[in-house]
Amino acid sequence: MTTFPLLAVLLPFVAAAAGLLLSRVPHRAPATVHPPDAPTGERANRRAAWIATVPTAASAVLAVLLAWGPGFAYFTGGDPTAHATGRTYGSIVTGGVPISLDLQADSLSSVLGVLVTVVALAVQVYSAGYLADDPRYPSYSAFVSLFTSAMLLVVYSGDLLVLYVGWEIMGICSYLLIGHWWEDRGNSRAAVKAFLVTRLGDVGFLFGIFVLGTAAGSFRIADVLARVPEMSAATLVTATMLLLAGVAGKSAQVPLHTWLPDAMAGPTPISALIHAATMVAAGIFVVARLFPAFAAAPPTLDVLAVMAALGMLGAALAALAQDDLKRVLAYSTVSQLAYMAGGLAAGSDRAAVFHLLTHGAFKALLFLCAGVVIHHVGSNLMSRMGGLRRELPITFVTMTIGFAALTGIPPSSGFFSKDGVLAAMESALSAGRLTDAAALLLYGCALATVAVTGAYAARAWLRTFFGRPRAVALAEPEPGTAHVVDVREGPRTMLVPVVVLAVPALLLGFAGEPHLDLGVAATAVVLTLLGAGAVYASWRLDPDADPARLLGPLRVPCERAFYVDTVYSALVVRPARALARLVVTADDKVVDGAVRGSGASARGLAGVLRLAQNGNVQLYVTGVLAGVLLIAVGAVVFT
């Protein structure tokens, strides 16, 4: 049992290595056996699918076994570290604070581990169908395995620096996977952006680890948390603020959220993986993991509350104006993550983590359903969809469950978890941990977001599945969209994960003893229905027009996500480029110029000296005589 965390991390890692190394083997086999290329590629893909799926499934089993003992103990209170199982695999000397190789699963880690492995397994199975004829499927599935392994390392790590290793490997995996269709420069750029924006936050995260580790004299999470009461307020605020930079980057919080909508360039299953179970979940998880440190630093919680408040409402409004179905879901992820961040800021890590779990289930479901829709239509744009409920009945039902959970309609899982978060925010109004203004802003924005969430979910649902089917010419698919298939529903490998995920999306709310705050719950449901109702009314008036016109003059700013990208481009990207050009010029003109100048001046000086070395003996003798005379005069004068 104590080796389960290690095994769970290692299995997908081995799968990744095997997938990368073995994927090319059939190409070396004698060509006489399999003359045409296509069957070989198919065979390679099928084998890669097995290599990827089986270890992930084994990891999922291990994660479930690890979670079996504590169960949902994390949500029922009690000490989260009480049930820790795991062990230490030695430590690495650094000359200073050592790095200890701990892998352990306490009640928080084990719950998250189940989420990660189950969603990853669903994504692997789904990808086998989604990318069945992609020649690069073997490397793709290997990177997904590596991604899973890295996230499990984050979840099970007992040491901050080991956690950071997994944290960064996820960054590079997201880069490789978002840029999977790198033929299109746009996808390549999206990958670069995702990597660099998160990396910027990660530098702060690393420094935060330095501060905590040095103050505690150890990088072990248990030791750090044990010493939190002894640390000074300044240390804690510095450390948590720095950690927050990394959290904002990974969990796509304002102001480092801009990579997430662009990350839609990746294949849809990757969007599900990144948005539901890994990467974005890591940030929220780390705050929950180190929650005692955050709770002891009220200024950080205030900042987190303001970030969350702005993020949730802004992203929800942006989601309302997008035409790309995946971008709607992406902004919805930013908004929902801000809910969790708000829950954390309000002081309830349990509510936030519960929402993380349910969100993982329903957002993975929504993305996988969106993938089926996109696969079917051959476009990401909702203006090309419509009336799909007849053609895709299974997807329609499952996606409806997903949207219900997203908006928080009872009895779906989202209803219970969102209620918990809202209740925490409401009680924060009077608890006094946050400053009054921050608490008020947070709660107000959260309630407004509930209504907007209802609106954008209703809009996406209506425009995808209802109304008139829009006939579109099926052109050769661009790289960046899935290949069009002509079956009515997607292949079974895609539908099975969707149906399986629909179960927790619907029912997970009843796990872990739901306790409802009736007043808050009723307010939320009424607000949701108001938002959805407004969109429905607008849609009824003219089913062909986009209900986003409700936004009026706000529509364009919302569609462009309030021009944050433009601001960054002006403030960061262009100055960096200009600076780089300046450096190259300076390098040539000043630094190397000085070197070349010294060379030239040496040569010039040599030219002057050469005048004296002209071989004229008379001149030399004159020089010697002059020298003797000078010495004689000097001797006379100075003695």
Partner: protein, 545 residues
């Protein structure tokens, strides 16, 4: 006590070089095997040294050999290794061997192999190996200096004879610049000798600067440090480096980046800091300042490069900045990080230069815009290896590049007592931003070289830089197109001998795989190297920590 091993490490390549002089008519066909055998034996001896090293006492000098050399001057032929020099000796033997594999495997007739003046090339490389290994083995100040200088001559010829179009100017700049640095260093070494009366590095570091006044120590540190900084290279003394790298042949670039730069940083760890602790303490803030300027400056220069080899050369300036920052902290953590980053940089940048050389052979040039991108489509393995090396170089945890730079930054977080902490915190933040910029230029390079639509390459090397934001969206691309190529990019047929353009050759794969494996090994298990360097570092820093 196996004192013969260091001598053998020097004697075998020297013997190989001398035999070439004695037997001038070695068959051209036998030369690749000849070089492989001698560098292979040297590598085997290095491996034997790694295997028989006593890891329990890594701080002690092992395989020691101490003979009088020039008794009249008190010079001794003093060789030995400890945990600081062992990895570098092994790295040198490995990289030289891999260079010979790259040059000679499979007959040595492919482009970029032993083609032009092969006998002289084998001779030059073997002499170079003597100098490089000797530098890391020497435990006498003047012996160190002699080996340090021996290296310059073969490298000068390597660039000057087998280099690219601008080789003459580049090789001249290289040798004049580094010789000038060496002269200053020699003055510093002589100053130490004059003050203490001994040249023995072991004795000098054990006495931790006793017998030298503070001002003498500062003067000596600045002189020795300046000489080492030219070789490292430290900002702003690096300008020989980009030219030398751009013009050098592939093996020259690999050894230059993989080993020669390490000689400078090794000098800091072996001589400058332990022998002159007070001088180091006084100069450390300046060293740190130059280091972080180098990190950011190198990264910014890389952002605007169009030539792949030049980009990797400038990236070395940035990476060496991290190494120097680690030394400047004067803490065990920082120096450990510096030594780790040293070895990691040797492996990763060695691999990068191998790849850049292979790319240059295939495309006829290393100019990134005219390559047209899409390398992952046209040459998937080469593209994948380049991606791997670039990711390793940008410091991804789990690969070797991360640990050294992370520890250097951690060292700056808590510098040695007596150093201004606020200043070093600033250095840490600047270094961290430099790490982001490093990631930026590497992923942008990958985007330019490996991504893109292969179809446009077939159309005469035209670029896939079509405007993407054509839907009225302003251009917010992270990757801007560089200026279009000035001349029409005619993709030269890569193979002169009429063979088809292959992805990765056998001899290339053979030379690169060990580097890939070691990058993974040190990345996943950094303790291998850190447990080796920690005890000697703690001893060397004795007076400071």
């Amino acid at each position: 006590m196996m004192g013969w091993l260091p001598v053998a490490l020097l004697a075998v390549p020297l013997l190989g070089a001398l035999l070439l002089l004695v037997v001038p008519n070695v068959s051209r066909r036998a030369l690749p095997a000849y070089g492989l055998v001698f560098s292979g034996v040297t590598f085997a001896l290095g491996a034997l040294m790694v295997a028989t090293f006593d890891y329990g006492t890594a701080a002690r000098i092992q395989f020691e050999l101490d003979l009088p050399w020039i008794p009249g001057l008190g010079l001794r032929f003093h060789l030995g290794v400890d945990g600081v020099s062992l990895p570098l000796v092994a790295l040198t033997a490995l990289l030289t061997f891999l260079c010979f594999v790259y040059l000679g495997w499979g007959g040595g007739q492919a482009p970029d192999q032993l083609g032009f003046r092969p006998r002289a090339l084998v001779f030059t490389l073997l002499v170079l190996e003597v100098g490089m290994i000797g530098t890391f083995l020497a435990l006498d100040l003047l012996l160190f200096f002699v080996f340090f200088e021996i290296v310059l001559i073969p490298m000068y010829f390597l660039i000057g004879i087998w280099g690219g179009e601008g080789r003459r100017a580049a090789s001249l700049k290289f040798i004049l610049y580094t010789l000038l640095g060496s002269v200053v260093m020699l003055l510093g070494l002589l100053l130490v000798w004059a003050q203490t009366g001994t040249l023995d590095i072991v004795a000098l570091s054990a006495s931790h600067g006793a017998g030298m006044s503070r001002s003498v120590q500062i003067l000596a540190f600045v002189a020795i440090g300046a000489g080492l900084a030219v070789k490292t290279p430290m900002w702003p003394l690096y300008t020989w480096l980009p030219d030398a790298h751009t013009e050098a042949p592939t093996v020259g670039s690999v050894l230059l980046a993989g080993v020669l730069l390490k000689m400078g940083t090794y000098g800091f760890a072996r001589i400058a800091i332990p022998v002159l602790p007070e001088g180091a303490q006084a100069a450390a803030p300046w060293l740190g300042a130059f280091a972080v300027v180098g990190i950011v400056y190198g990264a910014l220069a890389c952002l605007a490069q169009r030539d792949l080899k030049r980009l990797i050369a400038y990236s070395s300036v940035g990476h060496m900045g991290f190494v120097l920052l680690g030394f400047a902290t004067l803490t065990p953590v920082g120096v450990n990080g510096a030594l780790f980053a040293n070895v990691a940089h040797g492996l990763i940048t060695g691999l990068l230069f191998f790849l850049a050389g292979a790319i240059k052979v295939r495309y006829g040039k290393a100019d990134m815009p005219s390559m047209g991108g899409a390398m992952l489509a046209t040459r998937p393995r080469l593209g994948a290896l380049l991606t791997f090396a670039a990711i390793a170089s940008l410091g991804l945890p789990g690969l070797a590049g991360f640990w050294g730079e992370m520890l250097a930054l951690y060292g700056a977080f808590q510098p040695a007592a007596g150093l201004p902490r606020g200043l070093f915190l600033t250095y840490m933040v600047i270094g961290g931003l430099g790490a982001v910029l490093t990631a930026a230029y590497f992923v942008i390079m990958l985007s330019r070289v490996t991504h893109g639509h292969p179809a446009t390459v077939a159309a005469g090397g035209a670029l896939d830089e079509r405007p993407v934001g054509d839907g009225g969206v302003p251009d917010e691309r992270a990757v801007v197109p560089l200026d279009p190529p000035r001349s029409v990019a005619v993709l030269r047929p890569p193979r002169t001998r009429g063979e088809p353009a292959v992805d990765v050759d056998g001899h290339e794969l053979l030379a690169w795989t060990p580097l890939v494996l070691l990058i993974l090994l040190f990345g996943l298990w950094p303790g291998l190297l850190l447990s080796l360097t920690t005890p000697p570092v703690q001893t060397l820093l004795g007076a400071l920590s």
